[in-house]
Symmetry: C2
DNA sequence: AACCAAAGCGAAAACGTTTTCGTGTTAAAA
DNA sequence: TTTTAACACGAAAACGTTTTCGCTTTGGTT
């Protein structure tokens, strides 16, 4: 019920000026010790806390970071948010999260409402629709206004700003290579039909790994799907008409679906066929067998993105110098691929 | 590079007063059409947007909602956030997310930093540590300051505020009852050793369901665990020494671990033993066999919590009247339990 | 006695809005 | 011609801070 107490109220009660109160609270040496004690005692008694909004207005900075992501019900993005939160909180920043729900319009609206003082800088992974349209005017706009921007994962090359990405092509290359090294030769790729750049990069890594190993690409082993349902159908056909001894899927769900199909056909995993997925989430951890995956280190991505942004905000870094940090991926070997020990045996 | 344009700058350029500009932009009828046109054209040209912070200060409201949750890498909480975001955005509010990481101190700090103007109201699910200590002074404080507060899931009865919960006891009752109806008699409970109130309530539901069905409680079928590892061990013992034909677990992970153990012992699911878990997440959806679960409808919980808070903020509801909304759970039947069709056969 | 410096404090501006109230100008009514 | 009303606009206050600058009082130095 009792409203928050302000400097003005304290000043009136103690019969001094607002300036005196303000200075006393900050232990200014302009103020006598007597007055300081009196003011601080009173402030403590009434639990005075400075009003953030007033300070924001005065300082022209909010100490808030705006994070815009396509969706939050997604292991990778929650890990990234956790990472951002971690570095932000340590340095006195709050995180405002907005969801674009993969919609271009909502992304634009979110940015516009936040960009007017509510936040000091953006961290964003753009929506699918935005990538499809290749319309990045809203990003360009905030950059032009001098507001720091960090993009992660789904980035736009044509926007000049800090970025945090993984090397999708390299990661896919390593994944496929791991299959090759453990004896696989007829390796299928399950990917998305896409405009989403990361999908293409992962496909590229797949192709390169095969080429470097001197394995010919078999178009019949490449399946492009757009939905879970489509994945099930095409994977069923794949196993029906082709001999497959390894599967690389661009996400864990598709890998799981493929594993299920293989199991239904009484194929032994990993002896008859090995599986590796992209993105390490709960499903990979607890599937049966557990799934070997490419881990993207979302938490670290978030930490780096957050730190890069804060470095710009605190002017620890020139505002016209931009970097792209590439976070290394790693392969977490589990039960769905053969261990290195079997290597000679299986080859 | 170009800073955001302000009313003052527009006023100077057009040689009118700040008040005139402000009114012209809002189509006040105090201002001539000529001036309105002139001002609006200029504002559009320079892409004028009112500064949110200044408006917040003036109106003494930020249009921000503070959400504090124990962790974000958790399906239930992300669903809740999505629900909150949904209603908040529709009504012009932003969501500031803070994570307590299950720590009491961080929860307190988060609330204090947000409570000084940054937000208009809180939505919170308290940390385990907070529940353990039963120290809710920080909640009491914001309530006393007249700041609306909505608690969800992990609530504190002693705090007088709006709440959104599920009926854990009833939900558990229904779950266990479903097992009973499909023919199970020796039903195990896998729960957490806890101070967390929800765990106790779920246990209560289990006991009541057995009692109402005239089934004696067998202490040996109740396992309390605190970690994944402990769960594995105790579940192994359970299956080794007891005959079990049904398992109710207080979360999906424990249910999964138990299923895995049963499969290792070549028990048929659901014919030999049925499983049901609490909380419907990805694991339940994609496990093998898929897991029947109690679904908590996190998205709806978020929507209700958000709407209750906004109703208070917009004074659509008296600020001294508090409700507790109970969101109904439902049981999503999948492969891990017998269907109703088999009912007669199995009895 | 005259001067000066330091100590202690207050007034005011600034951040960017919105809104109330007052004022001068013009056109219509008496 | 005088009064009145409508019209168009500006000044100022308010939201809660921080900070600069200036003022008064005190005590000490010549």
């Amino acid at each position: 019920m009792k409203r928050k107490v302000t400097l003005k109220q304290i000043a009136k009660e103690l019969d001094v000026s607002v300036s005196t109160v303000s200075k006393a609270l900050r232990n200014s040496k302009e103020i006598s010790q007597d007055t300081i004690d009196k003011v601080q005692a009173f402030a403590k008694l009434y639990n005075y806390r400075p009003n953030n909004i007033a300070i924001s207005l005065k300082n022209r900075k909010s100490k808030n970071i705006g994070v815009i992501i396509p969706e939050i019900v997604h292991h990778f993005f929650t890990m990234v948010i956790s990472g951002i939160e971690n570095v932000a909180n340590e340095q006195g920043y709050n995180v405002i999260v907005c969801l674009s729900n993969e919609s271009f319009d909502k992304e634009v609206i979110n940015m516009e409402t936040l960009a007017n003082g509510s936040i000091d800088g953006f961290i964003i992974s753009v929506s699918k629709e935005t990538q499809q349209r290749r319309d990045f005017h809203h990003l360009r706009e905030v950059v032009n206004q001098g507001m720091p921007l960090v993009m992660f994962d789904r980035v736009a090359d044509e926007i000049y700003c800090d970025k945090v990405v993984i090397d999708d092509a390299q990661a896919a290359y390593n994944a496929v290579n791991h299959l090759i090294e453990t004896g696989c030769r007829r390796i299928a790729l399950i990917t998305t039909e896409d405009y989403v750049s990361v999908g293409n990069l992962r496909t590229l890594g797949y192709l390169n790994a095969l080429r470097d190993a001197g394995i010919e690409v078999n178009e019949n082993l490449v399946v492009k799907v757009n939905s879970e349902q489509e994945c099930r159908e095409k994977v069923a056909k794949l196993f029906k008409y082709q001999v497959v001894d390894g599967v690389f899927a661009v996400n864990e769900l598709y890998a799981l679906i493929a594993m299920r199909e293989a199991q239904n056909r009484d194929l032994k995993i990993p002896d008859d066929v090995s599986f590796i997925g992209f993105t390490d989430g709960l499903l990979s951890q607890y599937s049966n067998p557990t799934l070997t995956t490419v881990v993207q280190h979302g938490y670290e991505i978030g930490q780096h993105a957050g730190q890069m942004l804060i470095d710009k905000l605190e002017e620890r870094e020139a505002d016209d110098y931009f970097r792209t940090e590439v976070i290394k991926t790693s392969i977490l070997k589990r039960e769905s691929t053969k261990s290195g020990d079997n290597l000679k045996v299986s080859q």
